[in-house]
């Protein structure tokens, strides 16, 4: 039992904007009232936010674990987490260890995270890591846009069966949503190729194009009534001039929902590295007019990062560009994965444009319910640097100071210096919590109404700039005080949300046969056992298309 009193409450899902009122908590949920005798937290001169929700991050799984092994030099330089009576030891940095990940997210007021890229083949591993990620609630998205079983069916025009295969895979992997990464491009990468054009057949296929995959997968997600729409990483990520691909893709998605992941990396003009420029205005104009879409920023901050993506061909290009280490892991029949350490430099024109585009999108997309704060951790920057971005969004003067540090030549390629919008606290609450929770279809998250999960971040009103959101005064997770003034107080494990869409049971017979031919694991060993998913909570597949 807990009563939080005297704080200014920001609960955008209920239109509450800085009103002083009590928040009561019982059994991990927010309730109307608690009896006298409940513990009282005095939150006067504090802001009360629903706990943060990260809609797109990479914190667990084979790819991240590969990156950890590949970059010991980063770990050596990173923050250390000491073993104490309450906490496990670990390492922060760009690829934090699982326990540190939980502490870092909670320490920043984030209580729900979505691991955005999981192959079925190694889903068991991802769940093991998430089990060791304390405090926060978790969910996963399954990589499906280069699944050859699905692509082979689309080639033959067997849409219904492709839908059943997708639904079966979601159930087998114990995940929450579907991710599409460089549709067709990763499958082509298995032959060392890429898929750069939406209407050209993918290498190895006659009919299937990236466009076919995108539109069919979006339709499948909607017809399976998944709470979260198709989570899409478009083709041609990071490449100058990719704005045309992104716009073309968005047009193909009309009539369906879609979440455009790390949109920053897909909003470039020009046709070469030398003349790359921001096209955020174009993207934002289209996006603003199309409410079927949500997106996350995928903002970039200057400094060290590790790029980790299922987008194998892009990572090969990045390896050739940077000459740094390259990790690659192609996953049979399903997807790929590439890793290249990367340093974003303010003095580099390309990086300067990338930095600006992320902020521009956050400022130009006018509905904060449709764009969310991410850095595509650890690709654009580490998640624990989110407060730096919030500071720049809330303070135009500070932002301009940063813009002025860019090389002169960058200014003609960006729009950031012409934008003076500032985020309000209310908008920040939407950007970091209410918005992503709604886009994920998590009804119990991202708000402080009665019945919501008691995940709450309480910030000191007086803290300045980025410090405001870096160090919450209290963080409450599931009704328990998890963090107090930067100290981890409780490390109770969170839940993992999964869905189980309906499929025709006959599909198992079909899959079993394909498995014998194409896989090296037996079919019975392939699905993740429910008991291996720690704190599993089933979410409904009940999305209804609004006419």
């Amino acid at each position: 039992m807990l009563r939080i009193t005297g704080g200014k409450v920001y609960d955008p899902a209920h239109g509450v904007n800085g009103v002083v009122k009590d928040i009561c908590i019982l059994d991990g949920k927010i309730v109307a009232d608690v009896p006298a005798g409940a513990r009282i937290i005095n939150a006067s001169s504090m802001f009360i936010f629903p706990g943060g929700v990260d809609i797109h991050t990479h914190v667990a799984g084979a790819a991240l674990n590969f990156a950890r092994a590949l970059t010991p030099e980063n770990q050596r330089a990173a923050a250390k987490f000491l073993h104490t009576a309450d906490t496990r030891l670990g390492i922060g940095g760009a690829t934090p260890t699982t326990f540190a990940t939980g502490y870092l997210y909670a320490g920043m007021g984030y209580t729900t995270v979505v691991e955005a890229a999981v192959p079925v083949l190694s889903a068991k591993h991802t769940h093991e890591e998430l089990r060791d990620t304390p405090i926060v609630d978790k969910a996963c998205c399954l990589l499906m846009a280069n699944n050859e079983l699905v692509m082979d069916l689309l080639e033959k025009g067997e849409y219904e069966r492709a839908k059943d295969v997708t639904a079966w895979m979601i159930s087998a992997a114990k995940v929450y949503g579907v991710k599409a990464v460089n549709p067709g491009g990763v499958a082509a990468w298995k032959w060392g190729k890429n898929a750069n054009h939406m209407h050209e057949a993918v290498s190895g296929y006659n009919k299937v194009t990236p466009g076919t995959i995108v539109s069919n997968l979006a339709r499948i997600c909607d017809e399976l009534k998944l709470p979260h729409p198709m989570h899409l990483h478009c083709n041609n990520l990071g490449i100058p001039g990719n704005v045309s691909t992104t716009l073309e893709t968005m047009k193909m998605l009309e009539g369906n929902r879609a979440h455009m992941a790390h949109l920053q990396f897909h909003s470039y003009g020009g046709d070469d590295w030398h003349n790359m420029r921001s096209e955020s205005v174009h993207i934002a104009d289209y996006f603003n007019a199309h409410p079927n879409l949500t997106c996350d920023a995928g903002a970039v901050l200057f400094g060290n990062a590790v790029t980790i993506t299922a987008d194998g061909p892009w990572q090969h290009l990045l390896y050739q560009l940077t000459g740094r280490k390259w990790g690659n892991l192609d996953v049979e029949n399903e997807t790929g994965c590439g890793i290249v350490p990367y340093t974003y430099k303010g003095s580099n024109l390309v990086n300067a444009v990338q930095w600006a585009v992320g902020l521009e999108l956050l400022l130009l997309i006018d509905d904060p319910w449709r764009i969310f704060l991410t850095t595509d951790h650890p690709n654009g920057a580490c998640f624990w640097r989110y407060p730096e971005i919030i500071h720049m969004l809330m303070n135009a003067d500070f932002r301009m100071e940063q813009v002025r540090k860019l090389p002169e030549a960058a200014l003609s390629r960006i729009f950031l210096d012409e934008i003076d919008r500032e985020y309000s606290l209310y908008e920040v609450a939407i950007l970091t919590s209410a918005g992503p929770a709604r886009a994920l279809g998590m009804k119990q998250k991202g708000h402080l109404g009665i019945g919501a999960d008691a995940d709450i971040a309480i910030y000191n009103e007086k803290a300045d700039g980025e410090l405001l959101f870096r160090y919450p005064r209290y963080v409450i997770k599931g009704g328990e005080l998890a963090v107090e003034e930067g100290d981890i107080k409780s490390t109770r494990d969170g839940h993992e949300f999964v869905v189980q869409p309906h499929y025709n049971p006959d599909i198992e017979g079909y899959l079993r046969e394909k498995f014998e031919e194409q896989y090296t694991m037996s079919f019975d060993n392939y699905p993740v056992d429910a008991e291996r998913v720690h704190g599993m909570q089933m979410a409904d597949c009940s999305y209804q298309k609004t006419p």
């Binding site: 590949l70 670990g90 892991l329 890793i339 056992d529």
Partner: protein, 319 residues
């Protein structure tokens, strides 16, 4: 710089038309490798199976694996690094000193033929064993072969994979990475993880005698470590958890018999390509699993008086 460019074994089965084994004897050490994953299987894009694939073996001597190879290249012992350097140069069209090539025990034409095949193939894979990674040059050899595979991608699809073995060594590696950030050779003495192979790896700690107790799980260091390391195992209290009697268990202070994982107790094992597989026990065992024993050791340790500053766990708190 290199990195690691790899894939899961199913990719090899479905696509590889050039398979190179380097410094290993899979016919005897990984007997199911040929038949399950690499040369014998019919794959999605290699419908003709064995006939659609070329297998090259590079080793210092003729082993049982030679029979399975289409091409055998016998490299002189300790000359792997030089041979790989020559291949990397030839792949890039750089001039190579024939004298250097001759020192590897191979002819220029043989290397040129290999390079041509590598560039011509649609999907090439190199599996490298301890004959490369644990002989003269060690990690430099591994770096060289991994870099070669990475660089080959400028011409065609190419990957490399170490031939890992020793039970679930890949699994231990995976768990250490997500809990400590490092794959092996991790020291936790300062309360946070530090990594320094050559200093904190098991063999180095044992040989230097830097430890005062040793818990051995699923391994038999007494059979493979250098003598000074074995002496340390003998000197300090060594506790072995193993289903069977081993060299190490015989010199240990305590041997706790555990049920064999995968046969009598469940769990997860990782393949050499880091794909996790569930283990489903077929038989019952009267012995506890490794996990159970370790859990009980942890409970017993917790009953000891707290030593950590600020620790809340006291002897009385733990039932």
């Amino acid at each position: 710089m290199g990195g690691k460019v790899s894939c899961t074994l199913g990719e090899v089965k479905n696509r590889a038309d050039l398979i190179i084994y380097w410094g290993g004897n899979p016919a005897e050490c990984h007997p199911r490798h040929f038949t399950k994953y690499t040369i014998m299987q019919k794959g999605k894009f290699i419908p003709e199976g064995r006939k659609g694939r070329t297998m090259v073996l590079v080793d210092i001597r003729e082993t049982m694996s030679v029979k399975a190879a289409d091409i055998f290249l016998q490299v002189r012992p300790s000359k792997d690094f030089e041979m790989l350097s020559a291949i990397r140069a030839m792949v890039k069209g750089q001039p190579v000193d024939p004298v250097l090539v001759e020192e590897t025990g191979l002819k220029m034409e043989q290397l040129q033929d290999l390079v041509d095949r590598m560039k011509r193939c649609k999907f090439g894979v190199i599996f490298f064993g301890m004959g490369l990674s644990m002989t003269r040059g060690k990690h430099m050899n591994s770096a060289q072969i991994l870099t070669l595979a990475a660089e080959m991608n400028a011409f065609t699809k190419f990957v490399a994979m170490p031939m890992r073995g020793h039970g679930n060594v890949a699994g231990a590696d995976m768990v250490l990475r997500w809990t400590t950030g490092y794959p092996f050779g991790v020291n936790l003495c300062r309360g946070f993880p530090r990594f320094n192979p050559g200093e904190f790896s098991t063999v180095d700690l044992l040989v230097r005698g830097d430890i005062d107790a040793c818990l051995v799980l699923g391994a038999d260091p007494g059979a493979t470590m250098p003598q000074p390391g074995i002496d340390t195992l003998r000197r300090v209290p060594t506790i072995v958890l193993d289903p069977k009697v081993t060299y190490t268990s015989q010199i240990s202070r305590v041997h706790i018999t555990t049920s064999p994982t995968g046969i009598s107790s469940p769990g997860t094992a990782y393949r050499m390509d880091e794909v996790p597989l569930p283990l489903r026990p077929a038989l019952k065992s009267p012995y506890p699993s490794d996990e159970e024993v370790v859990k009980r050791i942890i409970q017993a340790v917790l009953r000891k008086p707290a030593w950590l500053p600020g620790s809340k766990v006291a002897a009385s708190d733990v039932a």
